[in-house]
Symmetry: C2
Subunit: 199 residues, 2 copies
């Protein structure tokens, strides 16, 4: 690809490092962008610059936004007293798409992991404890992934909050809407059975 | 996602329109970029600007490069007298990865298509005819996709070049390296059988 110019090669390599893209799809994407230079490539580059310049982490919850306080923390219509704890901004967005939670969030920025030596200090857990103390929080909803690391983190947070009087809950486990039993793993089925409820 | 700021939303929408990315993978890619703002997002935006500013179509062959004449057309070590005709820059890159062709290229920019009303003038076919006349070309190798439109275009070009004395060939059809007969379509098998050769 020496013919394509060093800039193009470098652009393809950078795109290929994005999650969900490989070398082949990065090539296709870059060619597509180059073909529509004026309507796609330039505006995309401009938009990236704008985002890179304006985006920052919310000092309260760790969500991303364009100010020191994110739109959710700044939104007075949000219920106070409830914090939903998520691993990642992507999880926060997933919760928001569900439109079921009206409170505020706390983004940990990962999960505890002995293997990758991620401790509580790396995870914005001290900030969470401080918020529970300072914001008169009644309930902490742990919306962590149902993985080993996610659940370890959930238990650690629950332990840390013991004695503060705050109610600690976590998302229910069970059969996903539209899920077929035949395709579900044994763990999910047994969790759903244990948590069965009267109709 | 109103929380994420309009710039971020717009960036996700733009990324989602790239081939190979959908809304979900665009969100992941943008979050990844934002997390590594300094080392990924800014350099990527810079690189896109650089490419958008520098990239242009080769006036001879239609390949993309950073000058009026692309690196391949400008390369004196390339054999003259042979032109490999491809539909698209992506196909040119694929040929170059094969490292088997040492001549120059001609990028049509698509295929003839009655349905999408793409005629010869839209396709840089007149420029190809002119090159055959002006550059003392001995052989035109048609490396067009083995689709109906690709083959229609190949036949059209062969007809146009009749009487010019140039030899018109096309890529061989047959079993791909590593291909298993059981997974090949009937057309490929019968083409490979017809073109069989002695060992």
């Amino acid at each position: 690809m020496a013919d394509a110019g060093r800039d193009i090669e470098a652009l393809i390599e950078m795109m290929a490092r994005l999650p969900g893209l490989g070398p082949r799809s990065a090539r296709r994407a870059v060619l597509h962008l180059i073909k529509k230079r004026a309507v796609l490539l330039m505006p995309l580059a401009d938009r990236m610059h704008a985002v890179a310049a304006s985006v920052r982490e919310c000092t309260v919850c760790g969500n991303i936004g364009t100010g020191d306080i994110c739109d959710i923390c700044a939104d007075a219509r949000r219920t106070t007293g409830e914090i939903c704890v998520v691993e990642d901004v992507a999880d926060l967005w997933a919760m928001e798409r569900g439109q079921a939670f009206k409170g505020r969030y706390h983004v940990l920025g990962g999960t505890l992991s002995a293997l990758e030596s991620v401790g509580p200090e790396e995870l914005r857990i001290p900030q969470l404890i401080a918020r529970v103390r300072d914001e008169a929080i009644g309930e902490i909803i742990l919306a962590l992934n149902a993985t080993v690391d996610g659940q370890t983190t959930a238990h650690y947070i629950a332990d840390e909050l013991e004695g503060t009087g705050v109610r600690v809950t976590s998302l229910a486990q069970g059969v996903p809407i539209g899920g077929e039993l035949d395709y579900l793993d044994d763990g999910t089925i047994s969790a759903a059975l244990k948590a069965r409820k009267g109709l």
